[in-house]
Protein backbone atom coordinates (compact mmCIF):
# COMPACT_ATOMS: atom_id res chain seq x y z
CA UNK A 1 0.00 0.00 0.00
CA UNK A 2 1.40 3.38 -0.99
CA UNK A 3 1.27 5.75 1.97
CA UNK A 4 -0.72 8.93 1.43
CA UNK A 5 2.19 11.00 2.61
CA UNK A 6 5.73 9.89 3.29
CA UNK A 7 8.29 12.27 4.67
CA UNK A 8 11.87 11.07 4.55
CA UNK A 9 14.87 12.69 6.24
CA UNK A 10 13.35 16.11 5.71
CA UNK A 11 15.59 19.00 6.66
CA UNK A 12 14.52 22.62 6.44
CA UNK A 13 16.81 25.49 7.28
CA UNK A 14 16.57 29.21 6.84
CA UNK A 15 19.46 31.48 6.06
CA UNK A 16 19.41 34.46 8.35
CA UNK A 17 21.84 37.28 8.97
CA UNK A 18 22.94 35.52 12.14
CA UNK A 19 23.64 32.28 10.26
CA UNK A 20 21.77 29.17 9.24
CA UNK A 21 18.75 28.29 11.36
CA UNK A 22 17.66 24.66 11.35
CA UNK A 23 13.88 24.50 11.67
CA UNK A 24 13.33 20.84 10.82
CA UNK A 25 16.16 18.47 11.50
CA UNK A 26 15.88 15.19 9.61
CA UNK A 27 12.27 14.19 10.15
CA UNK A 28 10.82 10.93 8.75
CA UNK A 29 7.27 9.59 9.08
CA UNK A 30 4.44 8.41 6.91
CA UNK A 31 0.68 8.68 6.92
CA UNK A 32 -1.54 5.83 5.71
CA UNK A 33 -4.74 6.41 3.71
CA UNK A 34 -7.64 7.49 5.97
CA UNK A 35 -5.36 7.78 8.98
CA UNK A 36 -5.62 10.74 11.36
CA UNK A 37 -2.26 11.81 12.74
CA UNK A 38 -1.78 14.50 15.35
CA UNK A 39 1.40 16.56 15.31
CA UNK A 40 2.09 18.19 18.65
CA UNK A 41 4.84 20.52 19.80
CA UNK A 42 5.48 23.94 21.25
CA UNK A 43 5.97 27.05 19.14
CA UNK A 44 9.15 26.89 17.12
CA UNK A 45 9.34 23.10 17.16
CA UNK A 46 9.00 23.00 13.35
CA UNK A 47 5.61 21.33 13.10
CA UNK A 48 4.12 23.79 10.62
CA UNK A 49 7.24 24.06 8.45
CA UNK A 50 7.07 20.37 7.50
CA UNK A 51 3.73 20.94 5.82
CA UNK A 52 4.65 24.32 4.41
CA UNK A 53 7.42 22.41 2.60
CA UNK A 54 4.92 19.81 1.38
CA UNK A 55 2.65 22.56 0.05
CA UNK A 56 5.49 24.51 -1.55
CA UNK A 57 4.80 27.47 0.73
CA UNK A 58 8.17 27.91 2.43
CA UNK A 59 9.74 31.34 2.54
CA UNK A 60 12.30 32.22 -0.12
CA UNK A 61 15.28 31.91 2.22
CA UNK A 62 14.52 28.27 3.03
CA UNK A 63 16.76 25.38 2.05
CA UNK A 64 15.19 21.96 1.90
CA UNK A 65 16.65 18.49 1.61
CA UNK A 66 15.15 15.03 1.90
CA UNK A 67 11.88 13.99 0.41
CA UNK A 68 8.13 14.48 0.81
CA UNK A 69 6.07 12.10 -1.32
CA UNK A 70 2.32 12.41 -1.78
CA UNK A 71 0.79 9.13 -3.01
CA UNK A 72 4.22 8.17 -4.27
CA UNK A 73 5.00 11.42 -6.10
CA UNK A 74 7.74 13.74 -4.93
CA UNK A 75 6.50 17.20 -3.89
CA UNK A 76 9.83 18.90 -3.17
CA UNK A 77 11.74 20.66 -5.91
CA UNK A 78 8.95 20.26 -8.49
CA UNK A 79 7.69 23.12 -10.64
CA UNK A 80 4.54 25.11 -9.82
CA UNK A 81 2.19 23.55 -12.40
CA UNK A 82 3.10 20.02 -11.27
CA UNK A 83 2.51 20.95 -7.65
CA UNK A 84 -0.75 22.70 -8.53
CA UNK A 85 -2.23 19.48 -9.88
CA UNK A 86 -2.52 18.16 -6.33
CA UNK A 87 -2.23 21.26 -4.16
CA UNK A 88 -5.65 22.63 -3.26
CA UNK A 89 -7.47 19.61 -4.67
CA UNK A 90 -6.02 16.28 -3.51
CA UNK A 91 -3.81 17.78 -0.84
CA UNK A 92 -5.41 20.66 1.04
CA UNK A 93 -4.65 22.75 4.08
CA UNK A 94 -6.73 24.57 6.70
CA UNK A 95 -4.95 27.35 8.58
CA UNK A 96 -5.26 28.79 12.06
CA UNK A 97 -6.66 32.14 11.05
CA UNK A 98 -9.57 31.75 8.64
CA UNK A 99 -9.79 35.52 8.13
CA UNK A 100 -6.37 35.84 6.56
CA UNK A 101 -6.67 32.62 4.58
CA UNK A 102 -9.85 33.73 2.80
CA UNK A 103 -9.63 36.50 0.22
CA UNK A 104 -11.36 39.56 1.69
CA UNK A 105 -12.66 41.03 -1.58
CA UNK A 106 -14.32 37.92 -3.06
CA UNK A 107 -17.58 36.38 -1.93
CA UNK A 108 -17.52 33.01 -0.24
CA UNK A 109 -19.33 31.53 -3.25
CA UNK A 110 -16.76 32.78 -5.74
CA UNK A 111 -13.84 31.53 -3.66
CA UNK A 112 -15.35 28.09 -3.26
CA UNK A 113 -16.46 27.78 -6.89
CA UNK A 114 -13.05 28.89 -8.13
CA UNK A 115 -11.50 25.73 -6.67
CA UNK A 116 -13.66 23.48 -8.82
CA UNK A 117 -13.44 25.66 -11.90
CA UNK A 118 -9.64 25.56 -11.62
CA UNK A 119 -9.09 21.95 -10.67
CA UNK A 120 -12.04 20.14 -12.24
CA UNK A 121 -12.89 22.46 -15.14
CA UNK A 122 -16.45 22.73 -13.85
CA UNK A 123 -18.64 25.54 -15.28
CA UNK A 124 -19.03 28.44 -12.80
CA UNK A 125 -22.77 27.94 -12.40
CA UNK A 126 -22.46 24.27 -11.47
CA UNK A 127 -19.49 25.02 -9.26
CA UNK A 128 -21.49 27.58 -7.29
CA UNK A 129 -24.39 25.24 -6.64
CA UNK A 130 -21.95 22.48 -5.68
CA UNK A 131 -20.30 24.95 -3.28
CA UNK A 132 -23.69 25.62 -1.70
CA UNK A 133 -24.24 21.90 -1.16
CA UNK A 134 -20.79 21.56 0.39
CA UNK A 135 -21.55 24.40 2.84
CA UNK A 136 -24.66 22.50 3.83
CA UNK A 137 -22.57 19.38 4.49
CA UNK A 138 -20.35 21.29 6.93
CA UNK A 139 -23.49 22.60 8.70
CA UNK A 140 -23.30 26.23 7.65
CA UNK A 141 -26.78 27.65 8.22
CA UNK A 142 -28.43 29.38 5.25
CA UNK A 143 -25.81 28.18 2.72
CA UNK A 144 -27.42 30.03 -0.21
CA UNK A 145 -27.10 33.39 1.52
CA UNK A 146 -23.54 32.63 2.68
CA UNK A 147 -22.43 32.19 -0.94
CA UNK A 148 -23.15 35.86 -1.56
CA UNK A 149 -21.43 37.07 1.61
CA UNK A 150 -17.87 38.28 2.12
CA UNK A 151 -15.55 36.72 4.74
CA UNK A 152 -15.82 39.72 7.09
CA UNK A 153 -19.57 39.14 7.33
CA UNK A 154 -19.01 35.72 8.91
CA UNK A 155 -17.98 34.83 12.45
CA UNK A 156 -14.65 33.10 13.10
CA UNK A 157 -16.30 29.71 13.55
CA UNK A 158 -18.30 30.12 10.36
CA UNK A 159 -15.19 31.14 8.40
CA UNK A 160 -13.43 28.03 9.62
CA UNK A 161 -16.38 25.95 8.40
CA UNK A 162 -16.04 27.65 5.01
CA UNK A 163 -12.31 26.76 4.99
CA UNK A 164 -13.16 23.15 5.82
CA UNK A 165 -15.75 23.10 3.02
CA UNK A 166 -13.13 24.50 0.64
CA UNK A 167 -10.60 21.86 1.63
CA UNK A 168 -13.11 19.07 0.85
CA UNK A 169 -14.41 20.25 -2.55
CA UNK A 170 -12.27 17.97 -4.71
CA UNK A 171 -12.52 14.96 -2.38
CA UNK A 172 -8.93 15.17 -1.16
CA UNK A 173 -6.80 12.23 -0.01
CA UNK A 174 -5.15 14.34 2.67
CA UNK A 175 -6.26 17.41 4.60
CA UNK A 176 -3.75 19.23 6.79
CA UNK A 177 -5.35 21.23 9.58
CA UNK A 178 -2.84 23.61 11.17
CA UNK A 179 -4.13 24.77 14.58
CA UNK A 180 -7.66 24.89 13.14
CA UNK A 181 -9.28 25.79 16.47
CA UNK A 182 -6.63 27.89 18.19
CA UNK A 183 -8.23 31.20 17.22
CA UNK A 184 -11.71 30.06 18.25
CA UNK A 185 -13.64 30.10 21.50
CA UNK A 186 -13.86 26.89 23.45
CA UNK A 187 -17.51 26.16 22.55
CA UNK A 188 -16.83 26.80 18.85
CA UNK A 189 -13.63 24.75 19.10
CA UNK A 190 -15.70 21.80 20.30
CA UNK A 191 -18.04 22.23 17.33
CA UNK A 192 -15.18 22.36 14.80
CA UNK A 193 -13.50 19.27 16.27
CA UNK A 194 -16.85 17.50 16.04
CA UNK A 195 -17.18 18.62 12.43
CA UNK A 196 -13.69 17.38 11.53
CA UNK A 197 -14.57 14.04 13.10
CA UNK A 198 -17.76 13.86 11.05
CA UNK A 199 -16.23 14.84 7.70
CA UNK A 200 -13.42 12.37 8.25
CA UNK A 201 -16.01 9.61 8.58
CA UNK A 202 -17.93 10.88 5.58
CA UNK A 203 -15.08 11.61 3.17
CA UNK A 204 -12.57 9.03 4.40
CA UNK A 205 -9.55 11.20 3.76
CA UNK A 206 -6.36 11.14 5.80
CA UNK A 207 -6.07 14.04 8.23
CA UNK A 208 -3.11 15.72 9.87
CA UNK A 209 -4.00 17.77 12.91
CA UNK A 210 -1.26 20.18 13.98
CA UNK A 211 -1.68 21.65 17.44
CA UNK A 212 0.16 22.85 20.49
CA UNK A 213 -2.67 21.43 22.60
CA UNK A 214 -2.47 17.71 23.32
CA UNK A 215 -6.08 17.66 24.50
CA UNK A 216 -7.39 18.99 21.18
CA UNK A 217 -5.52 16.29 19.27
CA UNK A 218 -6.46 13.56 21.75
CA UNK A 219 -10.08 13.29 20.72
CA UNK A 220 -9.41 12.95 17.00
CA UNK A 221 -6.02 11.45 16.19
CA UNK A 222 -5.30 7.73 15.79
CA UNK A 223 -1.62 8.35 16.27
CA UNK A 224 0.41 11.26 17.63
CA UNK A 225 3.85 12.55 16.69
CA UNK A 226 5.52 14.73 19.33
CA UNK A 227 8.06 17.26 18.06
CA UNK A 228 10.78 19.02 19.98
CA UNK A 229 13.35 21.42 18.53
CA UNK A 230 12.87 20.33 14.93
CA UNK A 231 12.78 16.57 15.52
CA UNK A 232 10.11 13.99 16.14
CA UNK A 233 10.89 12.65 19.61
CA UNK A 234 7.97 10.25 19.99
CA UNK A 235 5.47 8.50 17.76
CA UNK A 236 2.71 6.50 19.41
CA UNK A 237 -0.91 5.36 19.20
CA UNK A 238 -2.99 8.06 20.92
CA UNK A 239 -4.23 6.00 23.86
CA UNK A 240 -0.74 4.64 24.55
CA UNK A 241 0.85 8.09 24.43
CA UNK A 242 -1.43 9.37 27.17
CA UNK A 243 -1.26 6.21 29.25
CA UNK A 244 2.45 5.46 28.89
CA UNK A 245 4.40 8.35 27.45
CA UNK A 246 7.92 7.10 26.72
CA UNK A 247 9.86 10.25 25.93
CA UNK A 248 10.54 12.38 29.02
CA UNK A 249 9.46 15.48 27.07
CA UNK A 250 6.03 13.96 26.36
CA UNK A 251 5.70 12.98 30.00
CA UNK A 252 6.65 16.49 31.19
CA UNK A 253 4.30 18.11 28.69
CA UNK A 254 1.41 15.96 29.95
CA UNK A 255 2.23 16.89 33.54
CA UNK A 256 2.27 20.60 32.70
CA UNK A 257 -1.23 20.66 31.24
CA UNK A 258 -3.67 22.09 33.77
CA UNK A 259 -6.97 20.25 33.84
CA UNK A 260 -10.58 21.11 34.60
CA UNK A 261 -10.93 17.74 36.32
CA UNK A 262 -8.92 16.09 39.07
CA UNK A 263 -7.46 17.75 42.15
CA UNK A 264 -6.86 21.50 42.26
CA UNK A 265 -3.19 22.29 42.56
CA UNK A 266 -1.41 24.82 44.75
CA UNK A 267 1.19 25.29 42.06
CA UNK A 268 1.24 24.23 38.44
CA UNK A 269 4.04 21.91 37.37
CA UNK A 270 6.45 23.64 35.01
CA UNK A 271 9.22 22.63 32.69
CA UNK A 272 12.42 24.44 33.64
CA UNK A 273 14.62 26.04 31.01
CA UNK A 274 14.04 26.86 27.37
CA UNK A 275 14.14 24.88 24.14
CA UNK A 276 17.48 25.27 22.33
CA UNK A 277 17.74 28.50 20.39
CA UNK A 278 17.16 28.00 16.68
CA UNK A 279 20.52 27.80 14.99
CA UNK A 280 22.30 26.04 17.85
CA UNK A 281 24.07 23.00 16.44
CA UNK A 282 23.38 20.03 18.59
CA UNK A 283 25.56 17.00 19.01
CA UNK A 284 23.63 16.04 22.12
CA UNK A 285 19.98 15.31 22.84
CA UNK A 286 18.20 18.69 22.41
CA UNK A 287 16.04 18.00 25.47
CA UNK A 288 18.94 16.99 27.74
CA UNK A 289 19.32 20.38 29.52
CA UNK A 290 15.67 20.28 30.64
CA UNK A 291 15.34 16.53 31.13
CA UNK A 292 14.96 15.01 34.60
CA UNK A 293 16.40 11.70 33.31
CA UNK A 294 19.40 13.09 31.44
CA UNK A 295 22.70 11.24 31.92
CA UNK A 296 26.20 11.77 30.54
CA UNK A 297 25.43 9.89 27.35
CA UNK A 298 22.57 12.30 26.56
CA UNK A 299 24.95 15.24 26.58
CA UNK A 300 27.32 13.77 23.98
CA UNK A 301 25.25 11.54 21.72
CA UNK A 302 22.03 12.47 20.00
CA UNK A 303 19.39 9.71 20.23
CA UNK A 304 17.72 8.58 17.01
CA UNK A 305 14.03 7.82 16.57
CA UNK A 306 13.81 4.04 16.86
CA UNK A 307 11.12 1.38 17.10
CA UNK A 308 8.19 0.06 15.08
CA UNK A 309 6.10 2.33 12.85
CA UNK A 310 3.48 2.84 15.58
CA UNK A 311 5.78 3.11 18.58
CA UNK A 312 8.97 5.08 18.27
CA UNK A 313 10.98 7.14 20.68
CA UNK A 314 14.17 9.18 20.35
CA UNK A 315 15.65 8.75 23.82
CA UNK A 316 18.57 6.85 25.35
CA UNK A 317 16.61 6.22 28.52
CA UNK A 318 12.91 6.11 27.64
CA UNK A 319 10.29 5.65 30.33
CA UNK A 320 8.87 2.15 30.57
CA UNK A 321 5.26 1.28 31.27
Amino acid sequence: MVPTLSVDRLRISFSHRTGIIEAVDGVSFSIAPSECVGLVGESGSGKTQIFMAAMGLLDGNAQVSGSVRFEGNELLRVDGPTLNRVRGSQLTMIFQDPMTSLTPHLTVGTQLAEVMVTHLGMPWKDARSFAGRMLERVHVPEPKRRLTQYPHELSGGMRQRVMIAMSLLCEPSLVIADEPTTALDVTIQAQIIELLRAVRGEFGMALVLISHDLAVVAGLADRILVMYAGSVVENAITGELFKHPRHPYTAELLKCMPSVTGPRLDRLPTLAGQPPRPGEVLEACPFAPRCPRAADRCRVERPQLEGSSTSQVACHFPLTA
Binding site: T238, F242, V260, R264
Partner: protein, 321 residues
Amino acid sequence: MNNIVLRVRDLRVDFGAHAVIRGVSFDLCSGETLSLVGESGSGKSTLARAILRLLQPAQGSAEFLGVDLLRCPPAVLRAQRRGLQIVFQDALASLDPRMTVGESIGEPLRIFEPGLNAGARQLKVRDMLERVGLSPEMTGRYPHEFSGGQCQRIGIARAMILSPKLLICDEIVSSLDVSVQGQIVNLLLDLQDAGMAVLFISHNLAVVRHLSHRVLVMYLGKLVEIAPCDALFESPVHPYTRALLAAVPRMPHAAAAAAPAAPGELAAPDLMASGCAFRDRCPYALPVCESSDPPLLEVAPGHWAACHRSQETLNPLSFVA
Protein backbone atom coordinates in the same frame (compact mmCIF):
# COMPACT_ATOMS: atom_id res chain seq x y z
CA MET B 1 -11.85 39.02 53.42
CA ASN B 2 -13.98 42.09 53.90
CA ASN B 3 -11.54 44.82 52.88
CA ILE B 4 -13.00 45.55 49.48
CA VAL B 5 -10.53 46.92 46.96
CA LEU B 6 -12.87 47.23 44.01
CA ARG B 7 -16.63 47.66 44.11
CA VAL B 8 -18.34 47.66 40.71
CA ARG B 9 -22.03 48.54 40.61
CA ASP B 10 -24.43 48.30 37.67
CA LEU B 11 -21.76 49.07 35.13
CA ARG B 12 -22.99 49.70 31.60
CA VAL B 13 -21.00 50.38 28.46
CA ASP B 14 -22.54 51.26 25.11
CA PHE B 15 -20.80 51.19 21.75
CA GLY B 16 -23.11 53.38 19.70
CA ALA B 17 -26.57 51.89 19.99
CA HIS B 18 -25.26 48.54 21.25
CA ALA B 19 -25.05 47.80 24.94
CA VAL B 20 -21.86 45.74 25.39
CA ILE B 21 -21.77 45.68 29.20
CA ARG B 22 -25.25 45.41 30.63
CA GLY B 23 -25.34 46.11 34.33
CA VAL B 24 -22.48 44.19 35.91
CA SER B 25 -21.89 44.37 39.67
CA PHE B 26 -19.29 42.64 41.81
CA ASP B 27 -16.81 43.19 44.66
CA LEU B 28 -13.15 42.25 44.77
CA CYS B 29 -11.27 42.00 48.07
CA SER B 30 -7.58 42.32 48.78
CA GLY B 31 -5.69 39.06 48.35
CA GLU B 32 -8.49 37.72 46.21
CA THR B 33 -8.28 36.55 42.60
CA LEU B 34 -11.50 36.86 40.65
CA SER B 35 -11.48 35.35 37.18
CA LEU B 36 -13.59 36.66 34.35
CA VAL B 37 -14.53 34.04 31.76
CA GLY B 38 -16.71 33.99 28.67
CA GLU B 39 -16.40 33.78 24.90
CA SER B 40 -14.89 36.52 22.78
CA GLY B 41 -17.49 39.22 22.43
CA SER B 42 -18.87 38.59 25.91
CA GLY B 43 -17.38 41.88 27.12
CA LYS B 44 -14.57 40.69 29.40
CA SER B 45 -11.89 43.05 28.13
CA THR B 46 -14.37 45.89 27.73
CA LEU B 47 -15.30 45.52 31.38
CA ALA B 48 -11.64 45.75 32.41
CA ARG B 49 -11.08 48.82 30.25
CA ALA B 50 -14.21 50.47 31.61
CA ILE B 51 -13.05 49.93 35.20
CA LEU B 52 -9.72 51.58 34.37
CA ARG B 53 -11.64 54.30 32.50
CA LEU B 54 -9.70 53.56 29.34
CA LEU B 55 -13.15 53.94 27.80
CA GLN B 56 -16.12 55.83 29.20
CA PRO B 57 -18.95 53.74 30.68
CA ALA B 58 -22.51 54.91 30.11
CA GLN B 59 -23.68 54.23 33.64
CA GLY B 60 -22.70 52.73 36.95
CA SER B 61 -19.76 53.06 39.27
CA ALA B 62 -16.40 51.44 39.91
CA GLU B 63 -15.11 52.34 43.35
CA PHE B 64 -11.44 51.68 43.95
CA LEU B 65 -10.65 51.97 47.68
CA GLY B 66 -13.71 54.20 48.05
CA VAL B 67 -13.00 56.53 45.11
CA ASP B 68 -15.37 56.27 42.14
CA LEU B 69 -12.95 56.01 39.22
CA LEU B 70 -15.68 56.76 36.71
CA ARG B 71 -16.58 60.16 38.16
CA CYS B 72 -13.46 61.49 39.85
CA PRO B 73 -11.56 64.41 38.27
CA PRO B 74 -8.63 63.53 35.97
CA ALA B 75 -5.99 64.48 38.54
CA VAL B 76 -7.53 62.15 41.13
CA LEU B 77 -7.82 59.39 38.53
CA ARG B 78 -4.15 59.75 37.67
CA ALA B 79 -3.15 59.43 41.29
CA GLN B 80 -5.40 56.38 41.72
CA ARG B 81 -3.91 54.66 38.68
CA ARG B 82 -0.74 54.14 40.62
CA GLY B 83 -2.62 51.55 42.66
CA LEU B 84 -4.22 49.75 39.72
CA GLN B 85 -2.23 48.20 36.95
CA ILE B 86 -3.00 46.13 33.89
CA VAL B 87 -1.00 43.52 31.96
CA PHE B 88 -2.07 42.84 28.39
CA GLN B 89 -2.17 39.70 26.28
CA ASP B 90 0.48 40.64 23.75
CA ALA B 91 3.51 41.07 25.96
CA LEU B 92 5.97 42.10 23.28
CA ALA B 93 3.63 44.69 21.78
CA SER B 94 3.02 46.30 25.15
CA LEU B 95 6.72 47.00 25.70
CA ASP B 96 8.41 49.92 23.93
CA PRO B 97 10.90 48.32 21.51
CA ARG B 98 13.33 51.25 21.90
CA MET B 99 13.49 51.14 25.68
CA THR B 100 15.61 48.63 27.57
CA VAL B 101 13.57 46.44 29.86
CA GLY B 102 15.18 48.23 32.80
CA GLU B 103 13.88 51.56 31.52
CA SER B 104 10.42 50.09 30.87
CA ILE B 105 10.13 48.56 34.32
CA GLY B 106 11.50 51.74 35.94
CA GLU B 107 9.25 54.15 34.03
CA PRO B 108 6.29 53.97 36.45
CA LEU B 109 8.73 54.86 39.27
CA ARG B 110 10.06 57.80 37.29
CA ILE B 111 6.50 59.10 36.92
CA PHE B 112 5.06 58.39 40.36
CA GLU B 113 8.17 58.69 42.51
CA PRO B 114 10.16 61.52 40.90
CA GLY B 115 12.10 61.99 44.13
CA LEU B 116 13.81 58.65 43.72
CA ASN B 117 17.31 58.95 42.26
CA ALA B 118 18.52 56.79 39.38
CA GLY B 119 20.57 54.52 41.59
CA ALA B 120 17.70 53.73 43.95
CA ARG B 121 15.39 53.20 40.98
CA GLN B 122 17.85 50.79 39.42
CA LEU B 123 17.99 48.81 42.65
CA LYS B 124 14.19 48.48 42.72
CA VAL B 125 14.11 47.40 39.08
CA ARG B 126 16.75 44.72 39.64
CA ASP B 127 14.91 43.48 42.70
CA MET B 128 11.66 43.28 40.76
CA LEU B 129 13.29 41.37 37.87
CA GLU B 130 14.50 38.86 40.38
CA ARG B 131 11.03 38.53 41.90
CA VAL B 132 9.55 37.59 38.52
CA GLY B 133 12.29 35.01 37.99
CA LEU B 134 14.54 36.88 35.58
CA SER B 135 18.20 37.71 36.04
CA PRO B 136 18.88 41.28 37.30
CA GLU B 137 21.71 41.38 34.76
CA MET B 138 19.09 41.64 32.01
CA THR B 139 18.13 45.29 32.66
CA GLY B 140 20.16 46.56 29.69
CA ARG B 141 18.55 44.28 27.13
CA TYR B 142 15.76 45.12 24.69
CA PRO B 143 12.35 43.40 24.50
CA HIS B 144 13.09 41.57 21.22
CA GLU B 145 15.87 39.66 22.95
CA PHE B 146 13.35 37.89 25.18
CA SER B 147 10.96 35.00 24.60
CA GLY B 148 7.17 35.44 24.90
CA GLY B 149 7.08 34.08 28.44
CA GLN B 150 9.95 36.35 29.52
CA CYS B 151 8.26 39.41 27.97
CA GLN B 152 5.13 38.55 29.95
CA ARG B 153 7.19 38.50 33.16
CA ILE B 154 8.65 41.88 32.24
CA GLY B 155 5.10 43.21 31.76
CA ILE B 156 4.17 41.85 35.18
CA ALA B 157 7.33 43.34 36.72
CA ARG B 158 6.44 46.76 35.30
CA ALA B 159 2.90 46.46 36.66
CA MET B 160 4.17 45.35 40.07
CA ILE B 161 6.90 47.90 40.63
CA LEU B 162 4.55 50.40 42.29
CA SER B 163 3.04 47.64 44.50
CA PRO B 164 -0.49 48.11 43.16
CA LYS B 165 -3.52 47.11 45.20
CA LEU B 166 -5.26 45.74 42.12
CA LEU B 167 -3.74 43.97 39.12
CA ILE B 168 -5.83 43.33 36.02
CA CYS B 169 -4.49 40.55 33.77
CA ASP B 170 -6.09 40.45 30.33
CA GLU B 171 -5.45 37.03 28.74
CA ILE B 172 -1.83 37.04 29.85
CA VAL B 173 -1.21 33.32 29.37
CA SER B 174 -3.16 32.85 26.14
CA SER B 175 -0.22 33.17 23.78
CA LEU B 176 2.19 31.10 25.86
CA ASP B 177 3.20 27.47 25.51
CA VAL B 178 2.05 25.14 28.30
CA SER B 179 5.51 24.72 29.74
CA VAL B 180 5.82 28.50 30.21
CA GLN B 181 2.19 29.10 31.16
CA GLY B 182 2.72 27.30 34.47
CA GLN B 183 5.56 29.65 35.42
CA ILE B 184 3.38 32.74 34.94
CA VAL B 185 0.48 31.17 36.85
CA ASN B 186 2.80 30.27 39.73
CA LEU B 187 4.12 33.82 39.77
CA LEU B 188 0.56 35.13 40.15
CA LEU B 189 -0.07 32.62 42.95
CA ASP B 190 2.91 34.10 44.80
CA LEU B 191 1.53 37.62 44.32
CA GLN B 192 -1.84 36.58 45.77
CA ASP B 193 -0.12 35.67 49.00
CA ALA B 194 1.31 39.18 49.11
CA GLY B 195 -2.25 40.55 49.47
CA MET B 196 -2.83 41.90 46.00
CA ALA B 197 -6.27 41.73 44.40
CA VAL B 198 -6.22 40.24 40.90
CA LEU B 199 -8.86 40.43 38.18
CA PHE B 200 -7.83 37.62 35.86
CA ILE B 201 -9.44 37.64 32.42
CA SER B 202 -9.05 34.39 30.53
CA HIS B 203 -10.81 31.94 28.29
CA ASN B 204 -8.58 29.13 29.55
CA LEU B 205 -10.79 27.46 32.14
CA ALA B 206 -8.14 24.99 33.25
CA VAL B 207 -5.81 27.83 34.25
CA VAL B 208 -8.68 29.74 35.88
CA ARG B 209 -9.52 26.74 38.02
CA HIS B 210 -6.07 26.51 39.55
CA LEU B 211 -5.68 30.23 40.13
CA SER B 212 -8.96 31.74 41.27
CA HIS B 213 -10.85 32.21 44.50
CA ARG B 214 -14.01 33.15 42.64
CA VAL B 215 -15.12 33.02 39.01
CA LEU B 216 -17.44 35.39 37.16
CA VAL B 217 -19.03 34.13 33.93
CA MET B 218 -20.16 36.64 31.31
CA TYR B 219 -22.41 36.16 28.33
CA LEU B 220 -23.14 38.98 25.89
CA GLY B 221 -22.22 41.69 28.37
CA LYS B 222 -24.17 40.22 31.28
CA LEU B 223 -23.02 38.52 34.41
CA VAL B 224 -24.72 35.12 34.24
CA GLU B 225 -23.00 33.33 37.13
CA ILE B 226 -20.56 34.17 39.89
CA ALA B 227 -19.40 31.61 42.43
CA PRO B 228 -16.50 30.38 44.53
CA CYS B 229 -14.11 28.55 42.20
CA ASP B 230 -14.76 25.00 43.42
CA ALA B 231 -18.53 25.48 43.38
CA LEU B 232 -18.43 26.77 39.83
CA PHE B 233 -16.41 23.85 38.51
CA GLU B 234 -18.14 21.18 40.59
CA SER B 235 -21.75 22.35 40.44
CA PRO B 236 -22.19 24.96 37.74
CA VAL B 237 -25.76 26.25 37.63
CA HIS B 238 -26.16 28.36 34.52
CA PRO B 239 -26.54 26.28 31.33
CA TYR B 240 -23.97 28.52 29.65
CA THR B 241 -21.37 27.80 32.32
CA ARG B 242 -22.12 24.11 31.91
CA ALA B 243 -21.70 24.36 28.16
CA LEU B 244 -18.39 26.19 28.56
CA LEU B 245 -17.06 23.51 30.90
CA ALA B 246 -18.34 20.73 28.66
CA ALA B 247 -16.54 22.20 25.66
CA VAL B 248 -13.08 22.09 27.23
CA PRO B 249 -11.16 19.34 25.43
CA ARG B 250 -10.31 16.51 27.79
CA MET B 251 -7.47 14.08 28.00
CA PRO B 252 -8.49 10.51 27.12
CA HIS B 253 -8.23 9.33 30.74
CA ALA B 254 -10.22 12.25 32.19
CA ALA B 255 -13.89 11.90 33.06
CA ALA B 256 -16.23 12.98 30.30
CA ALA B 257 -18.28 16.12 30.73
CA ALA B 258 -21.83 15.59 31.90
CA ALA B 259 -23.50 18.59 30.29
CA PRO B 260 -24.33 19.06 26.63
CA ALA B 261 -22.23 21.50 24.62
CA ALA B 262 -23.87 24.69 23.37
CA PRO B 263 -24.84 24.67 19.71
CA GLY B 264 -24.70 27.85 17.66
CA GLU B 265 -22.68 30.95 18.34
CA LEU B 266 -22.83 34.13 20.38
CA ALA B 267 -26.27 35.57 19.70
CA ALA B 268 -27.16 38.54 17.56
CA PRO B 269 -27.71 41.75 19.54
CA ASP B 270 -31.47 41.69 18.88
CA LEU B 271 -31.75 38.77 21.31
CA MET B 272 -30.73 41.11 24.09
CA ALA B 273 -33.80 43.32 23.83
CA SER B 274 -35.81 41.13 26.17
CA GLY B 275 -35.47 37.79 27.89
CA CYS B 276 -32.39 35.66 28.41
CA ALA B 277 -29.71 36.27 25.77
CA PHE B 278 -28.58 32.64 25.90
CA ARG B 279 -32.04 31.19 25.18
CA ASP B 280 -31.44 30.34 21.51
CA ARG B 281 -28.44 28.14 22.39
CA CYS B 282 -29.84 26.81 25.64
CA PRO B 283 -31.02 23.20 25.72
CA TYR B 284 -33.19 24.01 28.75
CA ALA B 285 -34.98 27.14 27.49
CA LEU B 286 -38.65 27.64 28.40
CA PRO B 287 -41.17 30.15 27.01
CA VAL B 288 -40.51 32.36 30.05
CA CYS B 289 -36.87 32.76 28.93
CA GLU B 290 -38.07 34.71 25.92
CA SER B 291 -40.36 37.07 27.75
CA SER B 292 -38.42 37.96 30.87
CA ASP B 293 -34.81 38.57 31.72
CA PRO B 294 -33.77 36.15 34.51
CA PRO B 295 -32.66 37.99 37.67
CA LEU B 296 -29.38 37.16 39.41
CA LEU B 297 -30.33 34.98 42.38
CA GLU B 298 -28.27 33.46 45.16
CA VAL B 299 -28.59 29.68 44.74
CA ALA B 300 -26.07 28.77 47.46
CA PRO B 301 -23.98 30.93 49.81
CA GLY B 302 -21.90 33.21 47.59
CA HIS B 303 -23.10 31.42 44.44
CA TRP B 304 -25.29 33.57 42.18
CA ALA B 305 -26.81 32.68 38.83
CA ALA B 306 -29.13 34.41 36.37
CA CYS B 307 -31.30 31.59 35.06
CA HIS B 308 -35.04 31.00 35.34
CA ARG B 309 -34.32 27.36 36.06
CA SER B 310 -31.48 27.89 38.51
CA GLN B 311 -33.28 26.00 41.26
CA GLU B 312 -33.70 22.96 39.00
CA THR B 313 -30.28 22.98 37.34
CA LEU B 314 -28.54 22.98 40.71
CA ASN B 315 -29.28 19.31 41.05
CA PRO B 316 -28.53 17.57 37.77
CA LEU B 317 -30.04 14.24 38.89
CA SER B 318 -33.55 15.56 39.34
CA PHE B 319 -33.31 17.66 36.23
CA VAL B 320 -34.84 16.61 32.93
CA ALA B 321 -34.13 18.76 29.89
